[in-house]
Symmetry: C2
Subunit: 235 residues, 2 copies
């Protein structure tokens, strides 16, 4: 069993899911009627389940967590979105209005732009290149989400955690003195909610990885010394 493509290139320039031309989309969306530039502090809710799904968002910087909350109070993470991700995609579907079913929260300080789905449609009609950009942005989302599915089908938690860490490196990694630092403040609980495990297990496994010398954790910031080595951790 192997892991998401962490080739040497993905550490530096980025891989295929970086392809969205976020910059261009930004200026396009900014020009739409009803668009707005939104800022949110860590922990602030962007939309709630049950809210009408009207706007589409483009994350400019920071991270957004999409999650589902169950009656039991349990919460699972459906996606951890990074820069240049499109979200609020539900609103793009057919005219008949529907409601959000996910909870979107700013996972870090966040800067994003949003516009009503109707404006997006009009903009596409007016300028075909908008459609092209949207198409690429959504393709990226599909590919990223599929990587996460790969992560989640690993049977042992150790592989799952490692695979997830590599995804985080891809999406939120910044080069550090030694290795790559994941530019997020991740509690063990939040990791558990993303990989479908429990806090206790994540604590144990991260401890193992640390004592193996694969990573360092400083104030909730994880630094992976050698992603390639990490991806080879298992046969």
């Amino acid at each position: 069993m192997s892991f998401p493509q962490i080739s040497s290139s993905s550490q530096t320039s980025g891989n295929v899911t970086d392809a969205i031309a976020g910059g261009t989309l930004t200026t396009i969306i900014r020009g739409l009627s009803g668009s707005s530039l939104d800022l949110a502090e860590r922990g602030k809710t962007i939309f709630l389940p049950g809210d009408p799904a009207e706007r589409v968002y483009l994350l400019r910087c920071g991270a957004v967590r999409l999650s589902r909350v169950y009656e039991s109070g349990e919460e699972i993470t459906v996606a951890l979105l990074r820069e240049n991700s499109l979200f609020g995609v539900l609103s793009l579907l057919t005219g008949h209005r529907s409601d959000r079913f996910y909870h979107a929260v700013a996972f870090t300080r966040v800067e994003m732009i949003s516009a009503p789905a109707t404006s997006i449609r009009q903009a596409i009609e007016a300028d075909a290149s908008v459609g092209l950009m949207m198409m690429q942005g959504l393709s990226c989302r599909v590919l990223q989400t599929e990587t996460m599915i790969e992560t989640l089908t690993h049977r042992d938690m150790s592989s799952r955690l490692v695979s997830f860490l590599l995804v985080l490196c891809r999406d939120f990694g910044v080069p550090a003195e030694q290795g790559i630092t994941i530019d997020l403040r991740l509690s063990h609980q939040s990791i558990a909610e993303a990989i479908g495990s429990t806090r206790v297990t994540v604590t144990r496994l991260l401890g193992d990885l640390r004592s193996e010398g694969m990573l360092r954790i400083d104030r909730k910031e994880i630094t992976i010394f050698d992603p390639v080595a990490l991806s080879r951790r298992f046969s």
Copy 2:
């Protein structure tokens, strides 16, 4: 812990992820230069990892399985695509050509249309409504994939299996005399590969569900008597 929205509506008319206007997209894509109508028998490979990613596919009828094969020979399912799904999405990304990393196989007899990504781009430039359609199609994919992530984060296999069966009802369910039949021929192995478990466990859990009177299996075709009841199976 609850389950994907299987409201009474989703049994009959279909839910939000049905929204893609597949019919319209079909005629559009058919008209593109380089497009083709492809038929494939069950089990036939559509593309392989390493193939150049050039074409985009729209599944007209049948089911396609996207999977990743590991060196160990192990195989996991990344997506089970249904009618009107767009796939081969990797080819839509930026110009620099890249290779497939998934294996696409016809899971049933399949009818699909495909066109080079370049033609799609040109078509969008020429007619903005193509961009609109593509956008909707891709949004659907995102939402469907996210549902699958929800399924995979359930911690106990029983919940995971149930959740997956409900997804299959949504995507491949046809009304039967009593309940809904999943219009696929699913081996226990293939289910295991989709939910990240093993054949033996799937056999056992399906057996449990059967003896509880939740479903019937006849020649690999699963009939769920009452999806709503099934979704309530756990507190």
